[in-house]
């Protein structure tokens, strides 16, 4: 039996709007700690992880852990039927094959029930370890969205580079190039307008702008966005939802054009000889070292861990993941 009553129903609506274009189908997982989702886009380049803690709900009843597969665009359609101030209650029976959405208007004069069929979705749950990032940028989310939108008019990649001076967003396209630098700025009236840069090492990473732009659909959820970067690691774009939870987007970086060029020249035409070698990723083991190198040490983990106990759940699943990873 599952019954979740969310007074601030619009939150769920905004969450769905933020992820429905990135992911088409996904499993929502409910456990004692909260209501969460983790999914990758079809090209496995981006990963979204969201969490609404149980405290976020006025009433939270989840007798046993349950995973519900839903088509996100259909779910968004259903949620769009709710009013802006409606209270949303999610209900599901154990072993049932549907999820019920109940929308109550604030003064209780209208109650709507929507039932959605659940679907079987194959999804792998990744255990996401916490990492110490080389640079963390916190800035107003609207500002970030604006920057991404502006840049997408010029090019289709975005280079984010964090230095002592500030954070630079740049792109290059057929019509020219663009650079936007944001400096650290803590002397503001409202804390949400602040731009804070914590940097241990300068970092520059390039991403497909298309994805970043789609992440900024989460802007209405939070005034601030946090970008966490380490070289060669996926960037984390996080929108904190007050005290209730978060939505995090992970995006794998692009590979430098130059490096690609080098690869191209060193390789000549694909010919039969080279093919056999061009295997799948060899030894997954080899890949692993980078990360160690990137992160100072394991000590850091507990720190981060403290504020996200919900993480436990995904980890349990990580076991399945493990095999898959290895299978590469």
């Amino acid at each position: 039996m599952l019954e979740l009553r969310l007074v601030q129903g619009s939150l769920l609506k905004k969450l769905l709007e933020a992820i429905k274009d990135l992911v088409t189908d996904a499993n929502f997982d409910c456990s004692a700690t909260g209501f969460s989702l983790q999914a990758m886009d079809s090209s496995h380049v981006a990963l979204v992880s969201l969490l609404l803690r149980s405290e976020a709900f006025e009433h939270y009843r989840c007798d046993r852990n349950i995973s519900m597969g839903l088509n996100l665009s259909n779910m968004a359609k259903v949620l769009r039927c709710s009013g802006p101030d409606d209270i949303i209650t999610l209900k599901a029976d154990d072993g049932g094959d549907s999820l019920t959405f109940m929308f109550e208007s604030p003064n209780q004069d209208k109650i709507a029930d929507f039932e959605m069929k659940l679907m079987d979705i194959d999804s792998e749950h990744l255990g996401i370890p916490d990492t110490e990032y080389q640079a963390i940028v916190r800035m107003p989310s609207a500002e970030f969205a604006r920057i991404c939108k502006d840049l997408s008019g010029i090019g289709d990649t975005i280079a984010i580079s964090v230095t002592k001076e500030g954070v630079k967003f740049s792109t290059r396209g057929d019509i020219g190039s663009a650079n936007i630098v944001c400096r650290q700025n803590t002397s503001v009236d409202k804390p949400e307008d602040a731009t804070i840069i914590e940097m241990e090492e300068p970092v520059t990473l390039t991403f497909a702008l298309r994805y970043i732009n789609s992440f900024t659909k989460a802007t209405p959820l939070s005034n601030q966005v946090t970008l966490s970067l380490s070289s060669d690691l996926p960037v984390v774009v996080e929108y904190k939802i007050a005290e209730m939870g978060y939505i995090r987007f992970y995006l794998a970086p692009k590979i430098d054009e130059e490096e690609l060029e080098n690869m191209a020249t060193s390789e000549a035409r694909p010919n039969v000889e080279t093919r056999p070698k061009a295997g799948p990723k060899p030894k997954s083991e080899t890949e692993t070292k980078p990360k160690k190198e990137a992160k100072p040490e394991t000590e850091v983990i507990p720190v981060e861990e403290a504020n996200s106990p919900e993480e436990v759940k995904p980890k349990e699943e990580a076991q399945t993941v493990v095999e898959v990873m290895d299978a590469e």
């Binding site: 088409t24 997982d29 456990s31 079809s42 090209s43 496995h44 380049v45 990963l47 046993r64 995973s67 979705i121 792998e124 990744l126 255990g127 370890p129 990492t131 497909a208 060669d232 996926p234 794998a252 970086p253 692009k254 690609l260 690869m263 694909p270 080279t274 093919r275 056999p276 070698k277 061009a278 295997g279 799948p280 990723k281 060899p282 030894k283 997954s284 083991e285 080899t286 890949e287 692993t288 070292k289 990360k291 160690k292 990137a294 394991t298 507990p302 861990e305 993480e311 436990v312 759940k313 980890k315 990580a318 399945t320 493990v322 095999e323 898959v324 990873m325 290895d326 299978a327 590469e328």
Partner: protein
């Protein structure tokens, strides 16, 4: 906890060991040769496989996986509705939980790492020696190891079938899904062979391997080998064009469509482009390796997507497959999607291989003792059964359950499943027929110029119409469907009719040309909107009242046919036929056929060797077409003015040329047809080379062509080619004689083929469009064009040597750019 310990130390070791190389490694795909990977990671960029950024993030998890390697794999279908509570049996918590204390490095993991790699080396060695080391196959063996293993084993498929042991090749466990890479490697092997026997062996051995491990996947693999997604009559099509594939490819590897298209032009094969596409986008996690079943299921999903955004959904499915594809998988994935496998695997070979594989895998019964060579017999059985019931979904399960020797009984002609129509061999003249059919009774029928159709009438009154290619055409001919119940006699409960649907003018009682028939709408035809009526010309009967007739002689079948239907002029007629062996009579009959707007004659044996042989071009049916007759149709001299880049086999040369004729009056070259046949490889090479120097950046102002053609390059008009064609048609695309034949349509050639290059002629001496018009019979409907005031008479006769003489007296008067012109065309050609 132990696991956790391992993980962290593992991490440590690697930092020390490999950090200098990590960058190159992580970004390029890694070299595959196992023994080297760990110790000399050099950069051998892989196309198509992607670096996975998340893997790095995930290293912890992987370490646990490594530690867990010896554990049994999880149950085959870890299922949905997962309840991640503590009831799960194995629950190692790979990611650090809040209470975790940083673990001290333990120097054990590295050891293990090395062990595992050396183990791989060992196993490889063993296999090289032909040993039978069987790996504990399971999902826990890493994909790259498995690939390595599979790669060195795959040549074993080439072994003679009798010496082959499927256990040596399979690197997956019994009941485990067959990896897609296995199929791709087999494709690769096949594409490097040309001999049919070797190819049959490879396919047979591959199928046996699947039968012995995962028979459930046999159907999928057979379909993929046949490059189909379902039986033809179900009409299931992938419905994706190059554009969708290019888009998916661009998105899957983070490149732009422009880059892909450029490379497509260079390589000429999207499959190779896919293979060569280095990804500029790293991935969060490499998806699971593809399985044959997964690929096939996704293909079916793609085919079934319809309606709004279906192209987008299809693209996403493709993308999902592409990102998971490694090694040579993308290449074959794309070719399968394009339904252009092009590895030289004919369906007949596949059927033979399937039959042979079934013999080896036979568990049910021994071959009947009277069979000399069971392999050949089995191949024959499967081929024959497939021709009667071309549905793998029925044949493959029947093979697996009841065996090949019972196949003829388990899979029989089924109402509602079209069989391939029996085809006729072309002949050049009446004398040839006489010599081929000595001492046999044969019959001659008109060969109507329409659409071949197989009409199935079910017991419940349902009617289905199938085309020559077994496509369901029922919706295209609602008028035929409506007429059928009226035309059959009452005693007929069910039947299958082989017939030709021909456009027919019921007022003038005349057969209309094929060109008129194809103007009918193709989809969702509404009875009231039908402008072109059709008449059914029935000539064969394959099934009647629950009994298949295909094993009966034509004489019997025809009697059944005549007894079962009522002729109704303009709606249903039996094909006009005579039974004779007199050469004069047949010639007169042929003449009559041509005069009755037929293509010629079909000559069939009547009571000996006269069974219906589905989808066979049998010697028992011969066709005599006016097109084939030696003297018909002068060749014409035309000028290549443009070309299209070749694809596939013709990469690097031009694939097709646009030919034009010269209009002396207007001093312009008018496009008349595209040509791609009649070239030997050497000739194509030669022509491409010589024309390459004549490429001009844009078409000359005096070229007349349709904007829809879009050739890749244009030429200076320099060469003259002698081309032979079967017929002339009115074409909305081509511009030859435009305005004369039709207000805004030109004429075009049917089935043009190159004879030779006319070195002795200048482009201006090429056949003129007026000559084109004259040189052949013309049957366009002048009354349809409003600008033309014309009188056209058209008659045709036959001379003794079957030379076809066409005489046209025409008067064309028309206006062109304010210039009035009168032309009188009088022509008598031999």
């Amino acid at each position: 906890m132990v696991l956790l310990l391992l993980r962290s130390c593992y991490a440590q070791c690697h930092t020390i060991l490999f950090s200098p190389h990590f960058k190159s490694l992580s970004r390029t795909s890694k070299p595959f040769s196992l023994s080297l990977v760990h110790f000399s990671p050099k950069r051998i960029p892989n196309m198509s496989s992607k670096p996975s950024a998340f893997d790095r993030l995930m290293s912890g998890a992987r370490a646990v996986a490594a530690a867990k390697k010896n554990k049994p794999p999880p149950p085959p279908s870890p299922k949905k509705r997962k309840t991640p509570d503590s009831t799960t049996p194995q629950n190692p918590n790979p990611a650090p939980s809040p209470n975790d204390v940083p673990e001290p490095p333990a120097p054990g993991t590295k050891q293990q790492e090395l062990n595992s790699s050396s183990e791989v080396k060992k196993s490889k060695l063993v296999e090289d020696n032909g040993g039978i080391k069987k790996r504990p196959s399971s999902s826990s063996s890493s994909a790259s190891e498995r690939l390595a293993e599979l790669k060195c084993k795959i040549p074993l498929l080439k072994k003679k079938a009798a010496e082959f042991d499927s256990k040596k090749v399979a690197c997956w466990g019994e009941g485990e899904r067959v990896p897609f890479i296995f199929l791709c490697l087999a494709f690769d092997l096949i594409s490097n062979e040309t001999g049919r026997i070797v190819i049959t062996d490879i396919v047979c051995n591959a199928l046996r391997t699947v039968m012995n491990t995962t028979p459930d996947d046999l159907l999928a693999i057979v379909y993929l080998l046949a490059n189909r997604i379902g039986p033809a009559h179900e009409g299931l099509e992938l419905g994706i064009g190059d554009a969708s594939i290019i888009k998916a490819l661009a998105e899957a590897c983070g490149r732009t469509e422009v880059q892909i298209k450029k490379q497509y032009k260079e390589l000429g094969d999207l499959g190779l482009v896919a293979k060569a596409s280095r990804s500029s986008q790293s991935m969060m996690r490499k998806p699971d390796p593809l399985t044959v079943a997964k690929v096939f299921d996704t293909f079916r999903l793609i085919a079934k997507e319809s309606g709004q955004n279906s192209q987008e959904k299809k693209k996403n499915h493709i993308k999902g497959l592409l990102v998971a594809a490694t090694d040579c998988e993308p290449q074959y994935l794309i070719r399968l999607l394009q339904t252009k496998l092009r590895i030289g695997l004919a369906e007949q070979t596949l059927l033979a291989a399937l039959g042979q594989a079934a013999v080896y895998a036979e568990k049910h019964s021994k071959p009947p003792s009277d069979i000399q060579s069971p392999l050949e017999e089995a191949a024959k059985i499967v081929k024959q059964v497939y021709s009667v019931l071309p549905v793998y979904d029925k044949i493959v399960p029947a093979l697996l359950s009841d065996g090949v020797w019972n196949l003829r009984k388990t899979c029989t002609f089924t109402l509602g499943v079209p069989v391939g129509p029996m085809l006729a061999k072309p002949t050049k003249g009446v004398s040839e027929i006489l010599s081929k059919f000595q001492n046999t009774v044969y019959t001659c029928e008109y060969k109507y110029d329409g659409e071949r159709a197989q009409i199935h009438y079910m017991e419940n009154g349902m009617v289905e119409i199938y085309s020559r290619n077994a496509e369901r055409n029922t919706a295209k001919f609602p008028d035929v469907v409506a007429a059928i119940p009226r035309l059959k006699k009452d005693c007929v409960k069910s039947f299958v009719l082989d017939c030709e649907l021909v456009a027919y003018d019921r007022d003038r009682k005349k057969i209309l040309p094929f060109q008129t028939l194809i103007t009918r709408a193709r989809k969702n035809v509404v009875m009231s909107e039908i402008k072109v009526d059709v008449c059914i010309y029935a000539f064969d009967m394959l099934y009647l009242n629950g009994k298949p007739l295909i094993q009966e002689e034509l004489k019997v079948r025809r009697e059944h046919l005549y007894e079962s239907f009522e002729e109704e002029p303009g709606y249903f007629q039996f094909a006009t036929a005579i039974t004779s062996n007199d050469i004069e009579e047949i010639q007169t009959f042929l003449e009559a056929a041509v005069n009755a707007s037929c293509e010629g004659l079909i000559v069939k044996t009547l009571d000996r060797d006269a069974t219906y042989e589905p989808s066979k071009r049998s010697l028992n049916w011969l066709k005599l077409k006016k097109d084939y007759m030696d003297t018909i149709g002068d060749s014409v001299d035309l000028v290549p003015i443009a070309a299209f880049h070749g694809r596939g086999k013709r990469t690097g040369v031009y694939g097709a040329f646009l030919l034009a004729c010269y209009d002396g009056d207007k001093e312009e070259f008018q496009s008349i047809c595209k040509i791609g046949t009649g070239f030997s490889e050497a000739m194509l090479e030669e022509r491409s080379a010589s024309l390459r120097s004549k490429v001009i950046p844009k078409p000359k102002p005096y070229f007349r062509y349709s904007d829809t053609l879009n050739p890749d390059v244009w030429f200076e008009p320099t060469e003259v080619w002698e081309v032979k064609a079967a017929d002339l048609t009115i074409s909305p695309v081509h511009r030859a004689a435009v305005g004369i034949a039709d207000a805004d349509k030109g004429i075009s050639l049917r089935f043009p083929r190159l004879l030779r290059v006319r070195e002795d002629k200048a482009p201006e001496q090429a056949t003129s469009s007026e000559q084109e018009l004259q040189a052949h019979e013309i049957f366009f409907c002048l009354e349809e064009t409003s600008i033309l005031l014309s009188v056209l008479e058209n008659s045709s006769l036959f001379s003794e040597n079957l030379c076809f003489i066409v005489a046209i007296f025409g008067l064309f008067s028309f206006m062109l750019k304010g210039r009035a012109r009168n032309t009188v065309v009088v022509y008598i050609g031999m």
